[in-house]
């Protein structure tokens, strides 16, 4: 497929989204929001995979995205289960409170 837009533009967008996700992980204290930021990061990566797949005329990138999608789904399930069970015992979901592992 002929591409009019240089590849680096797409990749920049992906980079920006990735960075936004990273900042979100670092700044927010609600674990759910942190999770969402992680999802944002995953999506950014997916975008760059698809970009490369498109520009290299290869299906491998899309395959990878497919699998990443599946893994993200599984991860979300387990992660939310963990958060819920933490919430049940602590009644509080501030990540700063969860510092039992401090050295």
């Amino acid at each position: 497929m002929h591409h009019a837009i240089p590849i680096s533009w797409y990749l920049i967008v992906s980079a920006i989204l990735f960075t936004l996700g990273t900042i979100g992980v670092l700044v927010r204290r609600n674990p759910l929001t942190i999770f969402m930021s992680i999802e944002l990061m995953l999506n950014a990566v997916n975008l760059s995979f698809i970009t490369f797949s498109s520009y290299l005329n290869s299906v491998d990138g899309q395959m990878f995205v497919f699998i990443v999608l599946t893994v993200a789904a599984a991860e979300v399930v387990v992660g939310l289960a963990i958060i819920v069970s933490i919430f049940r015992t602590r009644r509080n979901i501030n990540v700063d409170e969860m510092n039992v592992l401090r050295g």
Partner: protein
Amino acid sequence: MIAGVPIPNFIEFVVLAVASIASGLGVILFKSAIHSALTLILALLFVALFYLLLGAMFIAVVQVLIYAGAIMVLFLFVVTMLASENTGDVIEPDRKPWQRGIAATLGFILIGALSYLLFTGTAINSAAITTAASGNGLAQHVADPKLGNTQAFGLALFHGFSFPFEITSLLIIVALLGAMVLGRRSLSRDERH
């Protein structure tokens, strides 16, 4: 032509880019978790549109169906369940406010470095890349241009990637079991008899 790119392509790209970045910002900036979740759905949709732009139709639909449809719904369930306990986000003040500054700085640095790399990287000439890539053993499954995207994808999935496919289904089962175990309410003392 703007910056060597035909105007229609440019517009569609820029609009989508701005929209997805804006929704990304929204995810990380909203105080309320519900708002963040909804904004994330928006971001996912815009990214799916990007996929369409890039010719990955199948993946775009899959993204909408699974990510935006299933995963985010799950998120919303949990968010609303937990949000009903707290009003909004946590009220206590941030114990380490300085982290925001550092995070922002690092974020800018990251973007800057990535941009530098991406802009100064060699432009991708798709044909040349393709032949070179196939010579290196990369891009094994070069799509036959006559096939449609879904067909090509299906062929690759069941011919070249069947093993990862099976493993992924195993992964899903494991995650399912894990979630069931984790989600089980342990019997409290009074209930045990």
